[in-house]
Amino acid sequence: MPIHDQSYRRYTGEKRPVRSAWLVIARAGLMDFLRRRAFLALLIIAWIPFIVRASQLFLATNFSQAATFLEATPQTFRDFLSQQSIFVFLITVYVGSGLIANDRRANALQLYLSKPVTRAEYILGKMSILAVLLLAVTWLPGILLLLLQIAFSGSFTFIKANSSLIASVTLYCALTVLVITFGMTALSSLSRSSRFVGILFAGLLIFSDAMFNALRFITGSTAISWVSVQASLDQVGDLIFRQTPRHQTPVAVSFLVLMAVIVVSASVLERRVRGVEVVA
């Protein structure tokens, strides 16, 4: 039937059972962001540190004089991921703040949930958008740097000597992305304004970090680092990269704080993502 035929007709094609609605949601969300010039610019800027580090690896492996002060160590990769945290923050605010808030503003939740889409699939789809973009500026360049190290040096000596590095990079990125994605998605479900959510997220991170620094100054101890999400991530990150923890807080406590963020966020999402708001 030609497209200009203006009549409604019954659909005779095959409908497939919707088992992967989250993939449809995630794909549409990713395409939406990747079409925006401002976001693409941010993504390109987020890869500049990768280019710098790749140049460092190239020089260190090809020029013996440079190798003395540019040689790659596990710390190089840890530092790279720490540097990326600013881009993690920017992308989280840019992408995450409107994930659910915009849908709430446009009353889209009832549209989604009137389709064969469960609440879990909806949340998973929305979280996947942010998670994929965060992994694209943390895990992906981190792993690529490791591959470049092998390629530039022409041997597996470095990776054999640091066999846990791939797992460390993967685990640290996964933990960071999981905590931040859960937290931001939950915040996004609390409001209809993405701007408010962005400010709230920034405020919470900055406030918790400021509180930790103030308490550290007052007490002279870093045992209270668990009040800061970023400090808790750093603390657990040190363990993942087999380094000496930088704060006095037990790593288990920092890990529990991060798990608590995930649990509380999941609970918020369970309450806030519904097809209809009932005010009793």
Partner: protein
């Protein structure tokens, strides 16, 4: 199509649906009632948005509690309030909804174009939905509900906020869907003319209960006769007298009322009552029963004539 058995829905202390037992036949069915009657709550319960405190519901023969996902794949829902997926143009939005309902991407896009033409948005299909007028937003809500060719359509107040021309066009679309395209639909509205125009069967709700139900033609024809009446005297008092004698009456203008005379009684009873009250009947003319008469009888008179 849809069956509710002893269903109750409670919001806090407020019982929105109270032991509702009703069956929706195939075809175009109107769900009619004043604001707060429980119409939207019933639809939301059928969609699984609200969990009933009591009773069972079946849609297309499937249990709502256990087969919600299968049901949602086979129904289309046009919500009452403004809703869209932000940041998308119309055709992308409708195709996206089609994909979420199980259509392959290519089919979803093709159907999106067709459905947008059908609802009258063909020329505006590449515009962002946010820039649409109220009437256009109503049409696109219908398009997203239709794109996957549902077996049953839930339309919640589809003419809300539309101008007269747009409203007529929307009703014509709904009538066409229900009668020519053979789409089963439930039209939820508080506007009697909308239901009368688009539906064959009506279920009237009031205060969380079913007040009356049946084919519209039967409801309008089986309850006796209707008269237009003008009297000289105290009109509100006479309305009370009529009601006291089992004749439902309601004013339509400043001094004209419509009187529903149940089967077995006649206009003579009206004259006799007027005489006993010392009132003059200035005008009495047989009229055609309308859905409004059925509605008022069901809501105010407890459905004496039709239930």
């Amino acid at each position: 199509m849809v069956a509710l058995d002893d269903v109750s829905v409670v919001y806090g202390k407020n019982e929105a649906l109270s032991r509702v037992a009703v069956q929706f036949p195939p075809g175009a069915v109107g769900l009619l009632g004043p604001n707060g009657a429980g119409k939207s709550t019933m639809i939301k319960a059928l969609l699984g948005f609200v969990i009933p405190t009591h009773g069972e519901m079946r849609v297309l023969g499937l249990d709502v509690r256990h087969k919600a996902s299968e049901i949602r794949a086979r129904i289309g829902y046009m919500p009452e309030n403004d809703s869209h997926i932000p940041g998308m143009n119309a055709v992308t939005f409708v195709a996206y909804c089609g994909q979420l309902s199980g259509l392959p991407p290519v089919d979803a896009m093709q159907r999106a174009h067709e459905v947008l033409y059908y609802v009258g948005l063909g020329e505006a299909r590449y515009r962002k939905v946010e820039t649409y007028s109220t009437g256009m937003k109503q049409r696109i809500k219908l398009a997203q509900a239709l794109v996957h060719d549902p077996d049953l359509l839930f339309l919640d107040e589809p003419t809300n906020g539309m101008d007269p021309k747009g409203r007529d066009e929307m009703l014509a679309l709904i009538h066409d869907l229900g009668h020519n395209k053979r789409v089963n639909l439930i039209l939820c509205s508080h506007l009697l003319p909308d239901v009368e125009h688009a539906c064959d069967h009506v279920i009237v709700m009031d205060k969380g209960r079913v007040a009356t139900q049946g084919p519209i033609a039967t409801l309008k024809g089986s309850g006796g006769s209707v008269f237009e009446l003008r009297i000289k005297g105290d009109l509100p008092r006479f309305v009370e007298v009529l009601r006291g004698e089992g004749l439902e009456a309601h004013g339509t203008d400043e001094d004209v009322m419509r009187v529903l005379v149940p089967a077995g009684r006649s206009a003579r009873d009206v004259f006799a009552l007027a005489a006993t009250q010392g009132m003059q009947v200035r005008h009495l003319r047989p009229s055609v029963p309308t859905l409004e008469d059925v509605f008022i009888d069901a809501i105010e008179g407890g459905g004496r004539a039709h239930s």
